[in-house]
Symmetry: C2
Subunit: 460 residues, 2 copies
């Protein structure tokens, strides 16, 4: 049976070292979220499918993991339903729950259900796994963690600025260099309007978004295919060519302001100007780029949108978010504006691992191994372990006194535990102990109080 | 739409206060697990159903949440299958994954799959949610957390003693009084043998286990119904009546030793004697009780079994575990003995809540609220917030400078944030600030450095 043992495709076991490294990312982000005034919530892994369906587009609906109803799941299904074999309709009848796909829709559902006990603006963080039945590939898993912050109930652009400060602090703390791509959905709308493509906005922005990947020429061909006029194509070509090399975000913004048109676009430009202007004054370590082509897939964004990319490792976006003016509207609570973003912990993990930036102390939380090889001394050794633990030394006491000392030392070595205590018969009587440093190979005969000193002082 | 909004039965949203209280339990347990030399692993929420099915008895199989296969889930299903409407067989064809039911079976699967990279004894802790399609009721949820420790690969009874030390430390740290019920499956077998019920062991132990709930008289009736002879019933009655009042665990053990019979039982008695004897020498705060009727439902236990109960609140077992000699045998890796136990975090939460034992500082992680009511000062106030955060003050900066100060103060009050900073025009110029303590109603005009002092010194 062992041979066929496996875990579901796209999911992972995490070894002790991996868990500790993941916790380092979570606790780093959490500490920053708290510093910025966010409080935690958690929501169930399962939501009603009626809460989830239709919120992530047609493609998203297909990627939801559905949970088979308990008991007689066919009780609501007619013979006719079975004969027709209509997959989505049958799934809807035999499954009423699904695993959450992200933390944003459950957050919106939470806000609506708890509206009477929440004080707005409500600033929450949430660090939990999500599940997507996506085709697994590098950097894409079927179970992965999102670390979200959202501030809901305030239209102030100060919220956007605080998101950028959080990004700055977070990636500083994680020792990663990143750049933030910024845009505003209103500017993108203005661009579509200028190109007379506003009635075909989603197709337009999806093509525009691919510029990085497929190049300007192909973008223009695809835009022509969805009906953009030759004059507009020429104008867009000129505009894109002339702005490509501009690095200063405010300068790029002003040129964009002249090209695009419409009242909504002007509002977008003003919002972006306020953000870029103030961010410029704060001397952040991170690079901020105005990218009027950035679209982001999700439809609920209405203002600022942002994405964070590593400037040191090849990896898709490792954090993204934006402003939404009506997220809770899908659940019947309209006109509550908010901003939020999601850190992709698993991709951040992969980047840190690739760059070998994890702090070295993470892989080992156990400081001491106590050998136990004299059956008559078992209880004395146990009492020694109790005393050391009371002094906050995380330690492993070897349980089988019948096992040879050499084998026990090998085990401590395999487990990479830095210190080994070897309590001999004579020594215990005299209150002395042999303490061995496994990394340096040094060995000391010392008293109990000295054990504590040695372990605390030589820390790694 | 808002009216019908809900979450799946038996699942829960957690508010900020509840999350912080839960994290207090998790981090308390985690710190103790680490101190005892355990290292963390995590496993996927989903396992192959082939890994889970048949491991929790027939009833358990029914309580597994099954995940509908993605895409065309009917592709493996014949028309004949559909017509027959055989629920379990159909479920097996349309679902190949399920949510984990506990952390023990995934742990056994992990050990077998990672056997080549693990050094034994392998001591792991695991804190993750599990899911059961049980009927929800008080203290029973469909999604709940287990906090497990297991030490696998060592037959030494020192492991059992360390479990008891962990229980002692954990409930001391959580400020709860508990008692530990201890038994040994081998003693239970000896009791069955003495009553000539060993061929009907599971039915026998299930009835015996109910003594607390249904009383001695009904237990005897039920045992008679499954075929126990009158002589044996009389003997058992005498034995139970005479031991009921004995509190001293070692004394109770010796009387039991005389009553039961068989080689296996003797081994169980010797194991229990070793544990009780040594635990007695360690002067633990927790009460330890030898309960030869304790059975525990799960079939994989072969030696010591234990359950922990609150002595202050009415609640089922809040922690339980024992020794298993062949847990990984179900996955083709036989003869690896181990011990483990599981803390029921949700029940522990309910007990602490009922007894009002949560530390008072848990409900608030945000120390300071900065009012922001002069539009021209927005950036100065933001820079002040940045400086305070650099000094590790977790704070909420109010984002909308157009909102009246009074409304902002009300909000800080609602959010129970202890300190409010009110930066006025003149004051910022002079480097002075008004700091208000919301709990005491006091107000101070102070410099930046004094802000830090006040907040750190007055902590709660």
């Amino acid at each position: 049976m062992a041979e066929q043992l496996n875990i579901p495709k796209g999911t992972r076991d995490f070894t002790p070292e991996q868990v500790l490294k993941r916790e380092y990312i979570f606790s780093t982000l959490k500490a920053i979220f708290i510093k910025y005034g966010f409080v935690p919530i958690e929501t169930p892994s399962m939501e009603q499918l009626s809460t989830l369906m239709g919120k992530y587009g047609e493609e998203g609906d297909k990627l939801l993991f559905k949970i088979l109803n308990s008991g007689d799941f066919l009780s609501e299904v007619s013979d006719n339903d079975l004969q027709q074999k209509n997959i989505p309709s049958l799934a809807a009848k035999i499954c009423e729950k699904g695993l959450r796909y992200d933390l944003t829709v459950p957050f919106a559902r939470y806000v609506v259900m708890h509206r009477n006990e929440i004080s707005f603006p409500f600033k929450r963080y949430q660090i939990q796994p999500v599940w997507r039945a996506d085709r697994p590939q590098k950097g894409r898993y079927r179970e992965f963690y999102q670390c979200d912050v959202d501030s809901i109930g305030s239209p102030s652009l100060m919220n956007e600025i605080e998101l950028l400060l959080i990004i700055n602090d977070a990636f500083n703390a994680l020792n990663l260099k990143v750049k933030v791509l910024l845009n505003n959905r209103k500017i993108l709308l203005g661009l579509a309007e200028r190109c007379q493509m506003h009635e075909n906005f989603f197709a337009f922005s999806a093509i525009i978004d691919k510029l990085d990947k497929i190049g300007l020429e192909k973008v223009l061909v695809e835009l022509q295919q969805i009906g953009m006029s030759q004059t507009n194509l020429n104008d867009l070509n000129d505009f894109l060519s002339s702005t490509m090399s501009i690095k200063n975000p405010l300068q790029k913004l002003e040129i964009t302001a002249k090209f695009i048109k419409g009242e909504v676009a002007e509002k977008g430009i003003a919002e972006m100007r306020y953000i870029l202007d103030n961010i410029g004054r704060l001397n952040l370590a991170i690079e901020t780029e105005f990218d009027f082509l950035l679209a982001r897939g999700l439809n609920y964004y209405t203002g600022t949108i942002l994405e964070v990319k590593s400037t040191e490792a090849a990896m898709g976006s490792i954090c993204g978010g934006g402003r939404y003016d009506n997220l809770t509207g899908i659940f019947g609570m309209p006109d509550v504006s908010g901003v939020g973003m999601s850190f992709g912990a698993d991709r951040i993990y992969d980047v840190i691992e690739q760059l070998q930036r994890f702090p070295s102390h993470l892989s080992q939380s156990i400081k001491l191994f106590i050998a136990n090889f004299i059956p008559e001394l078992e209880i004395e050794v146990l009492q020694l372990a109790i005393k050391l633990r009371q002094n906050n030394i995380p330690l492993e006491l070897f349980p089988d006194s019948s096992v040879k000392l050499k084998k026990q030392l090998n085990l401590a070595h395999q487990k990479q535990i830095p210190w080994v205590l070897i309590p001999g018969d004579e020594e215990i009587k005299q209150g002395k102990f042999t303490l061995k440093n496994m990394l340096r190979g040094e060995q000391f005969v010392i008293t109990f109080d000295e054990i504590l000193n040695y372990i605390h002082t030589y820390e790694n």
